[in-house]
């Protein structure tokens, strides 16, 4: 049966199915309010914009805007920034907006910034300095009569570009994050320091130069290191950037998910010193802010330490804690700078996050210790894979020793590719570090006893922390 009638035509659809048999007086206008009539009159332009925004006449709102589930249905499609704006429209919309936020099945996403965007692969290829193609050379040093400068930390637009990329990704996202983990190369920090020098403006939190304002909405855990691992937005393809002199920044937006609570912590110099004098597990708990009530739900710790000591007392403290609680996964590394929202940079010796989860959350961690992609390393990746919640979502953080990467594998991107091959849909961010922390744990949802860690600090390893979760079933709407 063919029904190719133009949808807009006012002719009666004629077919076997819809037979407008008994319709002597097809009423065009019956009892509408005057508003609609006026809109019909002026409607030659199919674009609704003109109808929506140029009418300033004082009329009753259209019926549907007060119908709970219709508004909800509409808001469900909106990106998170639009949902939040809609909650400011009226009380009812605020209530609906809150519900939409609560029910939203948020997923993680990544943010990536470097100075040769959007040519990620070429830029990464060039700066990782391995078999550089002509194309990549052209990107960085185009053959032109004008003198070209490599866009390094002195690239003037760097910070404003980075800011707008971070903010735009954030505002355009459908998903709502609860925490932002950001890894940046030393070049980014140098650029910030340069800006501070030029402007004479000092800030207690350097990352504010890039995240400006965002930290007020979402807490941010950031680090500066000699290289970053970044997942390309949307594709989850991970790339390694090992050059500390090239400005590159990657962020992971950890989603708001029911049952998954991430608490950021920062360790100050004083707390660290205090611990040196008195190493007690209770002190460690206090410093990390481990909540007594929810301690049984603590499933993982991510720990970033500033490279001041080889092993700070707080790291020893975490080892003590894990000996008493071996069912908590740990991953982390030593970075050149660690920044925690709300704490002045100079005072932070370490930072990190506590990952609390209900039954719908699993946190696992593995360390690849052998220098090649050995069968043993392969086995660990397989175990990590087996720990994922079936049909769930996941995100991961990687800490690789700066001695691995090209230096060890003789070609770039080996471990990020390995991860990608096994977890093609898992967003991954990470850093090249000066030492790694890990307590290996494969979480399978059972409470099988885990061996206490003998040590948590390693060198020349690659550590993965994997969080997998499943959205819990929906909470019901009122009536």
């Amino acid at each position: 049966m063919s029904t190719k009638s133009t949808p807009s035509s006012s002719s009666t659809p004629t077919s076997l199915d819809v037979a407008n048999a008994e319709n002597p007086k097809r009423p065009r206008v019956t009892t509408e309010d005057p508003k609609e009539k006026s809109e019909q009159d002026g409607c030659s332009n199919p674009d609704l914009d003109s109808d929506l925004f140029d009418k300033s006449d004082e009329l009753a709102p259209p019926v549907f805007v007060s119908q709970y589930h219709i508004v909800k249905h509409i808001l469900q499609y909106l990106g998170i920034a639009d949902v939040l704006r809609a909650t400011l429209v009226s009380k009812q919309w605020a209530e609906i907006g809150q519900r939409v936020r609560k029910q939203r099945k948020n997923n993680p996403y990544t943010i990536l910034y470097h100075t040769y965007m959007p040519d990620h692969k070429l830029a990464f290829e060039y700066f990782n300095g391995f078999e550089v193609s002509e194309e990549a050379k052209q990107l960085v040093k185009p053959a032109s009569k004008e003198r070209h400068r490599v866009k390094n930390y002195e690239y003037p637009a760097l910070l404003s570009e980075a800011r707008s990329v971070v903010k735009k990704t954030f505002l355009d996202s459908y998903d709502e994050p609860q925490l932002l983990v950001t890894f940046a190369t030393t070049a980014i920090d140098n650029s910030v320091l340069r800006e501070i020098k030029i402007n004479g403006e000092r800030s207690e939190e350097r990352m504010e130069w890039i995240l400006r304002g965002l930290q007020k909405t979402v807490p941010c855990l950031s680090s500066i290191s000699c290289g970053v691992i970044a997942t390309l937005p949307n594709t989850c393809k991970a790339l390694e950037m090992e050059r500390s002199t090239y400005p590159c920044l990657s962020s992971l937006a950890i989603p708001k998910v029911q049952g998954l609570t991430i608490k950021m912590f920062g360790v100050t110099n004083q707390q660290n010193k205090m611990l040196k004098k008195k190493m007690e597990v209770d002190n460690v708990k206090n410093i990390l802010g481990i909540d007594k009530k929810n301690e049984d739900k603590l499933k993982g710790i991510v720990f970033l330490q500033r490279a001041t000591y080889r092993t700070a007392p707080i790291a020893t403290g975490i080892l003590q804690y894990l000996r008493a609680n071996p069912n908590v996964a740990l991953g982390g590394g030593i970075h050149e700078g660690v920044f925690v929202t709300g704490l002045p940079d100079d005072n932070v010796i370490a930072g990190g996050m506590l990952i609390y989860g209900e039954e719908n959350v699993r946190v696992s961690s593995i360390a690849l210790q052998e220098t090649k992609i050995s069968p043993n390393n392969q086995k660990k990746i397989d175990q990590l894979k087996s720990s994922l919640i079936p049909d769930g979502k996941s995100f991961a953080i990687m800490f690789a020793c700066n001695g691995r990467g090209i230096g060890m594998h003789d070609r770039p991107n080996v471990e990020a590719d390995l991860f990608n091959a096994h977890f093609p849909t898992t967003p991954l961010v990470g850093a090249f570090t000066l030492g790694e922390f890990c307590h290996e744990l494969i979480s399978t949802g059972s409470n099988a006893p885990v061996e206490s860690p003998r040590r948590i600090d390693f060198a020349y390893t690659t550590v993965f922390v994997m969080v997998s979760y499943k959205h819990t079933s929906e909470t019901q709407d009122p009536k």
């Binding site: 949808p7 199915d17 009753a60 469900q76 704006r85 009380k91």
Partner: protein, 169 residues
């Protein structure tokens, strides 16, 4: 072919096949209710929709007819994973179908699709309205939907502060 008479609020009757009508959750229930209460299994059901006028009802039926062979989506699929549904189901035909409508018609169509439980149509019409909220300021949204702020005292300011990053664009 079993038929059903669907009558609009203003008395226009549409004779449609039951197979088609049953793609609306509401009409399906009504037909089944009629079957149970009727002794004569051959009798033709008659359903009166008091909230929808003929012009809108005709559009709904037209949409249903166009999409009669689409797979039936579970009613709450949208809640499962809010993104992307409408784009997936939106054909060129849908775009042509919606293009000439003014906002008044679209709104009536949303109400009708909601009332008759026609998920696909509700999705595409809501999506259309949604695209008018995207990127607008709070005041623009209020103007568009002729809504007034009913926040008291500093309630609005409070919410605005909490969501500063999305309001100050």
């Amino acid at each position: 072919m079993a038929l059903v008479r669907v009558i609009s609020s203003d008395g226009a009757a549409f004779l449609v096949s039951q197979r088609l009508a049953k793609r609306s959750g509401k009409l399906k229930t009504e037909i089944e209710t009629f079957r149970k209460s009727s002794d004569n299994s051959e009798a033709q059901p008659e359903i009166r929709i008091v909230t929808i006028r003929a012009e809108i009802l005709r559009l709904v039926l037209q949409w249903l007819q166009q999409h009669q062979n689409d797979p039936v989506l579970p009613a709450n699929q949208n809640e499962q994973d809010g993104r992307g549904d409408a784009e997936m189901g939106q054909s060129q035909w849908d775009r042509d179908f919606l293009a000439p409508m003014d906002l008044g018609i679209v709104m009536e169509l949303i109400l009708a699709a909601n009332h008759l439980e026609v998920k696909g149509l509700l999705d595409i019409t809501c999506k259309l309205v949604e695209s008018k909220i995207t990127g607008r300021t709070v005041d623009e949204i209020r103007t568009a939907f002729k809504l007034k702020s009913d926040f008291k005292g500093n309630e609005e300011e409070q919410t605005r502060l909490e969501n500063r990053w999305c309001v100050e664009n």
